[in-house]
């Protein structure tokens, strides 16, 4: 059975007509949302999906009658339960906010005030709107914690935000939103920051609670699979315009618009696996730790064939990034060796010669932090060319231009600063910078996880294309199984500093699995709306068995 028939649809709670919003950058106002209509009935969950810049969050907040600094609502009406939020006074809105419309932000870690305990912040709204006394509110909060399956629901409230895990925080935030039993909740990418395995629990918790209180909700995300689990209806947005809107199942089965189709298609991308025993890099029984205490890498052995891609998957804290640091010599291993073309590499970075350094390049997760914001593209890409190959001046410029060409960027970008580029373009630049060294190995650390799916796909295809051209090997660190499917030849599964499994893609991705691999894989949301329901049922059974 599916989510939507289980719920009583009530009268319309929210009705947005022809919403127009402008954003300001460097003193110029330009449209972000160009006339969007939203209708939401009581007890209904609407999924807003689209890439960054599509204006999903902006619409979500507008549904509360709120526009972020630098944005302004310029047109349309926002009727919430008969109140025109555009005309409503600050005071009126303040009465609604928290009590009848609640907001669940993307990063709970940032959205919780570090200075106050969870319970204080949970009860704040209820108490200040005079809905409950503090005692009642706290009792209720503890109840909500229980419903959201938070551990130690009676005491967890007394903790400070930094003292609980991300998943728990996200649930606490949902509790906070629920405190006044609002008619409408805005979920703004609530699980994006979480690991897959945690995500499952949170999704489940949130879904249950909105069902229990029959709350209307707008669920904003860029992850189709997730929205498929949560929403009754899905609205696809592109650059501030609605592309199409339909009930979840229908939308998943037969999307009408091309854009939507491409969105769906992304998930299908998959590389032909090919195996090779020409090992370019071999990490052998490596232990590593920061300052001795806990081993972050525990006797890790990984092989990287030439011209192939090995994906290292694992959740945060599994030590996959540390592996990269150990290979690059940023974190000299305590034990074990790293063999490069059969020869052991000097452990420490400073002992490696220029040419060795050239052969192993690295691309980081966030181009924002890995590209020096004060250097132009010309300098960013030109430097390695000049540094490793001693090519200067016009020649160097030409080389840069050619690389830009290779990563499908227009040469006119050459004097831009990273700040003037989109996320995808930035990531392309960091790829170009790596290529400029003409390396044999590129370590890709979560290079796509910060990007929209379509962009992800473009980047992945680009990487594969480049691999064909230059026969470079990728060590591809990621937590996203879809990406793994898309790009890898072999897969290494890591958990708590240990290698759980290494082998060809097909072997790893198909049963029989080791326990952890199974957990990991099963937690990856699928496009099937019933996936979450089934999974929970299956796990429940499992528990019963155990």
């Amino acid at each position: 059975m599916s989510t939507d028939n289980k719920r009583v649809k009530g009268e319309t709670v929210l009705e947005i007509r022809d919403l127009k919003i402008e954003g300001n950058s460097d003193g110029v106002w330009h449209p972000i949302v160009k006339g969007v209509d939203v209708t939401l009935k009581r007890g209904e969950v609407l999924g807003l999906i689209g890439e960054s810049g599509a204006g999903k969050s902006t619409i979500g907040l507008a549904a509360m009658g709120f526009a972020r600094p630098g944005c302004r609502i310029v047109g349309g009406t926002i009727m919430f339960d008969g109140i025109d939020l555009r005309k409503a006074s600050e005071a009126q809105k303040r009465d609604l906010w928290g009590s009848r419309i609640a907001y669940v932000a993307q990063s709970a870690a940032a959205a919780f005030n570090p200075a106050h305990t969870l319970i204080d912040q949970t009860v704040e709204t209820a108490v200040r709107h005079g809905i409950m006394t503090r005692e009642q509110a706290e009792a209720d909060a503890r109840d909500l914690y229980k419903r959201l399956q938070l551990p130690k629901p009676d005491t967890i409230g007394d903790r400070f935000p930094h003292q609980v895990s991300g998943g728990q925080l996200q649930r606490a935030m949902t509790a906070m939103a629920m405190a006044c039993r609002p008619d409408l909740i805005i979920f703004d990418e609530p699980t994006t920051a979480l690991d897959v395995t945690t995500q499952v629990e949170v999704l489940a918790a949130m879904r249950d609670i909105v069902e229990q209180f029959n709350t209307a909700a707008i669920y904003i995300t860029h992850d189709l699979a997730v929205v498929a689990q949560m929403a009754d209806r899905i609205m696809v947005l592109l650059r501030g315009k609605e592309v199409e809107q339909a009930p979840t199942r229908q939308m998943l089965k037969q999307p009408t618009q091309d854009y939507t189709k491409t969105l769906w298609a992304v998930r299908k991308l998959a590389k032909e696996e090919s195996i090779s025993d020409d090992i370019a890099l071999r990490v052998h029984n490596v232990d590593a730790s920061y300052g001795g205490m806990v081993k972050v890498l525990d006797n890790v052995t990984v092989q990287l064939p030439r011209g192939r891609t090995v994906a290292v998957v694992g959740e945060s804290g599994s030590g996959k990034s540390t592996l990269a640091r150990a290979i690059t010599g940023l974190l000299p291993p305590m034990k074990g060796e790293v063999y490069f073309n059969g020869k052991p590499l000097p452990k420490a970075l400073k002992d490696r010669d220029k040419d060795t350094l050239r052969r192993i390049q690295m691309i980081y997760q966030s181009a924002d932090t890995s590209l020096n914001p004060r250097q132009t593209i010309r300098d960013l890409i030109g430097r390695p060319i000049e540094f490793y190959h001693g090519i200067k001046g016009a020649a160097c410029d030409r080389a840069v231009a050619e690389l830009l060409d290779a990563i499908e960027l227009n040469e006119s970008y050459i004097d831009r600063l990273p700040g003037e580029l989109s996320g995808g373009q930035k990531q392309r630049i960091s790829i170009a910078r790596a290529l400029a060294a003409k390396p044999e190995i590129i370590i890709c650390d979560e290079v796509t996880s910060a990007l929209d799916q379509i962009v992800q796909e473009e980047i992945l295809t680009l990487l594969m294309k480049l691999q064909k051209e230059t026969n470079v090997s990728y060590l591809f660190i990621t937590h996203d199984i879809a990406t793994v499917r898309a790009i890898s030849d072999e897969i290494v599964v890591m958990h708590q500093g240990k290698v759980v499994q290494q082998g060809p893609k097909t072997k790893v991705l198909n049963p029989p699995y080791p326990a952890y691999t199974e957990l990991l894989l099963s937690s990856v949301p699928e496009m099937d709306p019933d996936w979450l329901t089934n999974l929970l049922a299956k796990r429940a059974k499992g528990k019963v068995k155990a």
């Binding site: 609604l96 609640a102 907001y103 940032a110 005030n113 200075a115 903790r159």
Partner: protein
Amino acid sequence: MHPVLRTVLQRLGLGVLTLIVVSVVIFSSLELLPGGYAENILGQGATPETVANFKKELGLDRPAYVRYFEWIGGVAQGDFGASYSGVGGTNKREVAHVIAPRLYNTFFLAILTAIIAVPLSLFLGVMAALYRNSWYDRIVNAVTLTTIAAPEFLIAYLLMLLFALKWKWFPSLSTVGETTPFFEHLYRAALPAITLTLVIVAHMMRMTRAALINLLASPYMEMAKLKGVPAREAIVKHALPNAWAPIATVVAFNLAYLVVGVVIVEVVYVYPGIGQLMVDSVSSRDMPVVQACALIFAATYILLNLSADVVSIITNPRLLHPK
């Protein structure tokens, strides 16, 4: 051990270390000072013979390092030695006795100013943050800017001109003695206090404002707004608790300044504080007093910074309640 306690102890340790370095720096630079106490006190009246007698009596004929270690040893036991000024045998003037009244005056003034300035600047700062870019904000900024820009003694003289000479509300002389009754003291210290307030409020207020506005951009402030918390309450309840650390630091800095940096105000208002004592002692080469003052200054600075650290720790749950 609780992290707060540990940090405090660490800092105290460092503080002592710093003090020692300071004492060495001061002592050696005083050693370099040309001219001696004798030459200075005797001025035109110095003759080789009298100077020699002086040096003997002060023990200045012995090598520097010996004197340093004697001195530092004494300090360790809380004995700051005797001021040169008491020479003549029978009534040595203990440095402690020379400094005590001045120190009292200085602290009196500092505390008085702090009582006015700190709440004022916090209030102004919060207001400015609350109504940022409003006229209020602009005006407050402009005024504070100019008070920062104007040299201290200019402000001092202006206030004197207005409050002492034109309207005769306060005395232009702030000379106070050990016998001055409390309220008299209060009255006489008024002008210096106001001057110093003007000087430091600007700095503290701007920092408070900056610190708060910095936080306003943070997601939890938006969250607070979207929870229906009114702006004022949001600032006080959600922003301020997280802004204490930077505010405390700047407050500490300014309080330290109130103790160590007020020479000019003391000179202008003839307020017998420790700053003037030190300057006098430097020019008259009364080493023991200078060193004692320097140590006191350094200690004040260190302790205030320490307390600022403590504040920022206890107002930061991450440090106060580790996982």
